[in-house]
């Protein structure tokens, strides 16, 4: 045994650092596989925002649930999903979390309370409210966390779900990852008032936190989760963060100039990984990096070795009762 924390162990600064590195490394690996054409459709890279997923998930218990977004790999990994199976999913393999049917934007692992990444902005936020409601109805001690971006703050459905969650005092934590942009649109020109102000207007306790600092995010999330679990109703965190890469890998092929190289460089200077590494005893970060590199090499191998699904099964799982739809050729 290495004596190093495992990939889902977020209870110590070392475990949290390791997860930050795992997400970063996973995304770098995925970027390479997009470039080589092995991953179809591209990804929305999470690089830069890792401290949010890690900080929040470090405050969760195994029974808690999350909903995620189009930029979901970090959330899915931090909640404990197997990187091998997430990567296999991105490659459309049968060994993937969703048997290759969902891809990057729909990765889910219900056995871990991961109710799915989601292709529609704001959609997961409202779904988390339903998960919180059903846990409470069942008398279970479970909190639901909704991750969403600054862009989602302008979806009516999310604001409507703030109201439902607050009215019914549901155990849900809304986590807004404010990375400053919705694709090319600056939050400053899109969000009237403030993120926390919106939640506060519904009577939801709302705090702003440094989203580049996993420890700060964890502390704020832990407080909100404890309050929700004790029947105190919903909470709201605005995590100020930044994505270091483009909105989507496709962006590398476009000439978009919506943020300056200086701005990107400034935020890169706040990289959450060195900050988390600085909390560790000398030499530990390097050993953790090496163990992550090994884990990701194995994940890559697993994913590329995993079988492609057969075409006959293209409609498998469409209906829960196995209903077989008519084929498109009428045959």
């Amino acid at each position: 045994m290495t004596g190093l924390p495992g990939s889902a162990d977020l209870g110590s600064p070392a475990g949290r650092y390791r997860m930050l590195r795992l997400i970063r490394g996973f995304e770098e690996l995925a970027l390479g596989l997009v470039k080589s054409g092995e991953i179809t459709g591209g990804i929305h890279p999470y690089i830069g925002q890792e401290a949010v997923a890690v900080g929040v998930c470090a405050a969760l218990r195994p029974q808690d649930r999350i909903t995620s977004t189009h930029r979901g790999h970090g959330h899915v990994l931090a909640k404990g999903a197997d990187p091998s199976r997430l990567l296999a999913e991105l490659l459309g393999r049968t060994g993937g979390l969703n048997r290759g049917r969902g891809g990057s934007m729909h990765a889910a692992d219900f056995s871990l309370g991961i109710l799915g990444a989601n292709g529609m902005v704001g959609a997961g936020g409202a779904i988390a409210v339903g998960a919180a409601w059903s846990a409470r109805q069942a008398g279970e001690d479970r909190v639901a966390v909704a991750f969403f971006g600054d862009g989602a703050l302008n979806q009516g459905v999310l604001l409507e779900s703030f109201n439902l969650a607050a009215m019914w005092r549901l155990p849900v934590l809304f986590v807004c990852e404010n990375n400053g942009y919705a694709t090319t649109l600056p939050a400053a020109t899109a969000v009237a008032g403030s993120a926390t102000g919106r939640a506060a207007a519904f009577g939801i306790p709302a705090v702003e936190v440094d989203g580049m600092d996993a420890e700060a995010v964890r502390a704020a999330a832990a407080e909100a989760v404890a309050r929700s679990a004790a029947g105190g109703g919903p909470g709201f965190l605005e995590c100020r963060t930044y994505r270091f890469e483009g909105h989507h890998t496709m962006e590398r092929l476009m000439k978009l100039r919506y943020r300056t190289p200086e701005e990107v460089a400034d935020w890169r200077g706040l990289d959450p990984l060195p900050r988390a590494a600085a909390l560790l005893p000398p030499g530990l970060a390097e050993r953790l990096d090496a163990s992550v590199a090994q884990q990701l090499a194995a994940a890559r191998q697993f994913a590329l070795d995993s079988e492609l699904p057969s075409v006959e099964g293209a409609l498998d799982h469409l209906y829960a009762d196995g209903l077989r739809p008519r084929a498109g050729s009428g045959a």
């Binding site: 729909h106 989601n118 979806q155 919705a182 498109g328």
Partner: protein, 331 residues
Amino acid sequence: MRLSYTKALNRALTDALAEDPAVCVFGEDIGAGMAGPTLNLLDRFGPGRIVDTPLSEQAFTSMAIGAALTGRRPVIEFQIPSLLFLVFEQLVNQAHKFSLMTGGQANVPLTCLVPGSGSRDGWAGQHSDHPYSLFAHAGMKTVVPATPTDAYGLLRSAIADPDPVVVFAPAGALPVRETVTWELSPIPLGSARIHREGADVTVVAVGHLVHDALAVAEELAPEVSVEVFDPRTLYPFDWTALAASLERTGRLVVVDDSNRSCGIGGEIVATAAEELRLIAPPRRITRPDGAVLPFAPALDRALQPNRDQLRDAVRAVMKHRPTSSREDRGR
């Protein structure tokens, strides 16, 4: 001049904006011209007419309807086809109904443009729909251009039209380029185009599938003479042109990227069976019933209409030996 499909949409918007000060454009990331059709419009026409919106589709669609009711001629660009599901209420229950419900006091000259409808390879379940049949079913004017010239001409007519029109630019048609030696001009809604004349079978192909139909027609030329019929507008449908085509051929195959049940292909086949000249049972190639496109690329492709299916269907309708005396009428 070499004209790409996206450039054609861009020129149509530019010309419409230049010609009529009432025309304005709403949409996400249109300031950056991200999807292509809105490239450079902000620079040329300014933020009073090119409105880069927050991610509030329901609100800005309603807003465009309000603007249309009060003298503007708005175009909305929807970044992904499934956003139309989000604004179905706004389009079908508001925009479409105002004229009748107000006893003709008001009309809604609104154009909705979806650049990149249908599968884009690897965009999975929530980003691969091609929902034109839903709008034809609701009775909204519905346009699916297959070529750059038609995209230009039909978008111009859609914007000039006094009623709401939804224009679907199929992802599969976006790579199409044409060498254009003619003047681009508006093309009336509701008029079909025969891309290739034939004597034995009429293939009605929708959107990008026109190009597949042309390839199959060419390939089968030694054995069967295929007429390739592009309706261009699905609602209102050019039944007169289809009647004339079937007078010549008497055999019908429809290829349509909708789900099978209640798709436009079913309407075309039904109308032909009820009212037009057929000497063999018609066939249609569609997506399966209830299709959700799986992520894995081979599965995604397997659920879309393809050339093999079309070839088989053409051969199948040719095999049918008519006994009806009606055949003599056309020969």
